[in-house]
């Protein structure tokens, strides 16, 4: 009897494929793209990191989170604190402790630290949130988003309040964006084939049976939450370098919705769905952005009113949810042979009087 190939051998095609395709995009963009296009693609890579982080938690646990962008906020501001030149910090952010005011780290060091900062925060709040039932946990994450936004908008001496803080070194480009995305995909993949990831997916699909098998639901959810926070915190750090400024408004409802939409449109339970969803929605956003700027058709400039972008994405998300609840990838993963390849667990049987909470 031949030896069964290990899980990694069977499934590694997916992350490799994704990373390679993204590499191609990065290369083409860097070589041939205009400056504006480069910026669009960098933003897309950052979104890929965020949505991949989101997938790590939502896809494996089945719990919806509205609070993930608060980790992006934490990571972005942490990077701001660590990389803005001390001269500038001392003027605008007087509330920071002295050692922080005098530190300035390069992006390579500050970004992972920012990720860890977000992860630590997730460890603390996650302890409370993960004990709640599914729906209550989702509402709690919504509360988390509001709370972080509230605190960051008001703690003027430390975060600059509702205004923006400037001065973060603008060191982002398409290659670094790709690297970040590759790291995120790798972490997400390794987590999902790990024991913890498998255990968590068991709770997603059959909560009672999983718990009866000895799986500690709270612990597994917490692990996913923390890993997810690290990835998203990292994205926040890169985003700060991309924009070179941070302000709390960028990390609130609009970003939350757009990233959730990207995950859902792609396919909530699939890594390929996460990445694919970002690409599709990014393309749509770009298209609408251009339409809002105006398209000249033989002398006439036709422009859609500002704000159509968001309304369109919202409506598209609702429609996709209605007709394709498992997203464009149907929750399957991309792979070498036959794309996409069916690799998901069979759906649990719905009995007539199932009482849910």
């Amino acid at each position: 009897m031949s030896r069964r190939p290990s899980v990694m051998w069977q499934t590694i095609a997916t992350p490799v494929l994704l990373i390679v395709v993204l590499l191609a995009i990065a290369a083409v963009t860097y070589q041939f793209g205009s400056r504006a296009f480069n910026r669009t693609v960098v933003e897309m890579f950052i979104n890929i990191i965020v949505v991949t982080g989101l997938y790590v938690f939502v896809g494996n646990s089945g719990l919806l989170s509205f609070g993930h962008i608060s980790f992006m906020c934490l990571g972005a501001y942490a990077t701001a604190w660590l990389t803005i030149p001390p001269v500038m910090k001392s003027i605008t952010l007087k509330g920071l402790p002295a050692w922080l005011l005098h530190t300035q780290l390069p992006m390579w060091v500050a970004a992972p630290i920012s990720g860890v900062f977000a992860a630590l925060f997730a460890l603390i709040v996650g302890r409370i949130i993960m004990r709640l039932s599914g729906i209550a946990a989702s509402i709690a994450t919504f509360g988390l988003l509001g709370v972080v936004n509230n605190v960051y908008s008001n703690w003027d001496s430390v975060t600059g309040g509702q205004g923006s803080i400037v001065g973060i070194p603008p060191t982002m480009n398409a290659w670094i964006g790709w690297l970040g995305a590759a790291v995120a995909i790798a972490i997400a993949y390794l987590y999902s084939i790990s024991r913890s990831g498998l255990a968590l997916r068991a709770t997603r699909d059959e909560a009672v049976a999983a718990s009866a098998s000895g799986i500690d639901v709270v612990r597994e959810r917490l692990i996913a939450f923390v890993v997810s926070a690290f990835i998203i915190g990292l994205a926040g750090a890169l985003y700060a370098h991309f924009l070179s400024i941070v302000n709390p408004g960028s990390f609130y409802l609009r970003t939350t919705f757009i990233t959730l939409s990207m995950l859902v449109v792609g396919g909530m339970y699939s890594l390929s769905g996460a990445v694919g969803g970002v690409v599709v929605i990014s393309a749509l956003i770009e298209m609408f952005r251009n339409l809002e700027k105006g398209v000249s058709l033989g002398g006439l400039t036709i422009a859609l009113p500002n704000g159509v972008q968001e309304i369109a994405i919202g409506i598209i998300t609702i429609v996709i949810l209605m007709y394709l609840p498992t997203g464009l990838t149907r929750n399957r993963e991309f792979s070498w042979r036959g794309w996409p390849r069916a690799r998901r667990l069979p759906q649990p049987v719905q009995t007539a009087l199932k009482e849910s909470n």
Partner: protein, 304 residues
Amino acid sequence: MTAVLQIVFDGLSLGSLYALGALGIALIFGVMRLVNFAHGDFIAFCVFAMLWPSINAAAIVFAGNLPFYFLIPLLLLIGATLSVLSEVLVFRRFRNANPATMMIASFALGFVIRHLLLMLFSSRPKSITLWPSLGLPVELLGARIPMLQVVTIIITLAVLAALSLFLKRTRYGLEMRAAADNFTMARMLGVRANGVILLAFAISGMLAAAIGLILATNSGTADIGMGANVMLIAFIATVIGGLGSVPGAVAAGFLIGAASVVFQATLPHDARVFRDAFVYGAVIVVLLVRPQGLFAPKSAKQRV
């Protein structure tokens, strides 16, 4: 003594707002297991419905000029209609979907409504004056309480009483409670699914309109995000009260309102900006001690 009285009224009126918000969420959640994240945007929509679309800072008040006996029913109707339309056009297709899908759908709907308002009105808050006489204080037991606070409390108590009566004494109220307890079983006894759900949405929409009216009168402005602050707390109240318990949600709304005002009054001056953080801290303590909520209904545990 007067200070205490003022705090009591502050707490009651703030708690009333939160309670009304939580009630709107709990009603729909009870029958459909749907958390309506669009509720805050329903509130904003109702307020902006009083104005003509414009991007100026001075609102061109349109319906807002009507006398109160027209304006109030009109706004309640608008709120109910928006809510019912949401059910028919959007949420109906998600009746049997999993909770995550339903939540994203409601979040998306809220997003669309919010950006529609943004497009029509821009993000500049607009000033509107509704019944300015309500801002005047009223002498109560030696303290001067803003009339609006008293009105808010009275309205909320009236709403709660009316709803209680409706749920306990009428046939439709009974059907709603049965459906909230076990939807499928209720249907097997002839309870019309659509009817009960539409009723829940209509009531919830009217509650949103009421909150909008109170907020607009209180602040004198119409602002896209005006429902969001109340709803953030309202959502937390439903969790603390115990998901699925309507009275629990209402009670928790009042509790948070009270806690908020007490913190505001007792914290040292500098820390007052973080009054909200203290309130959240209290919420966290409650969740640590009772993750299922303070008044969780007995049927909260899933039966195997």
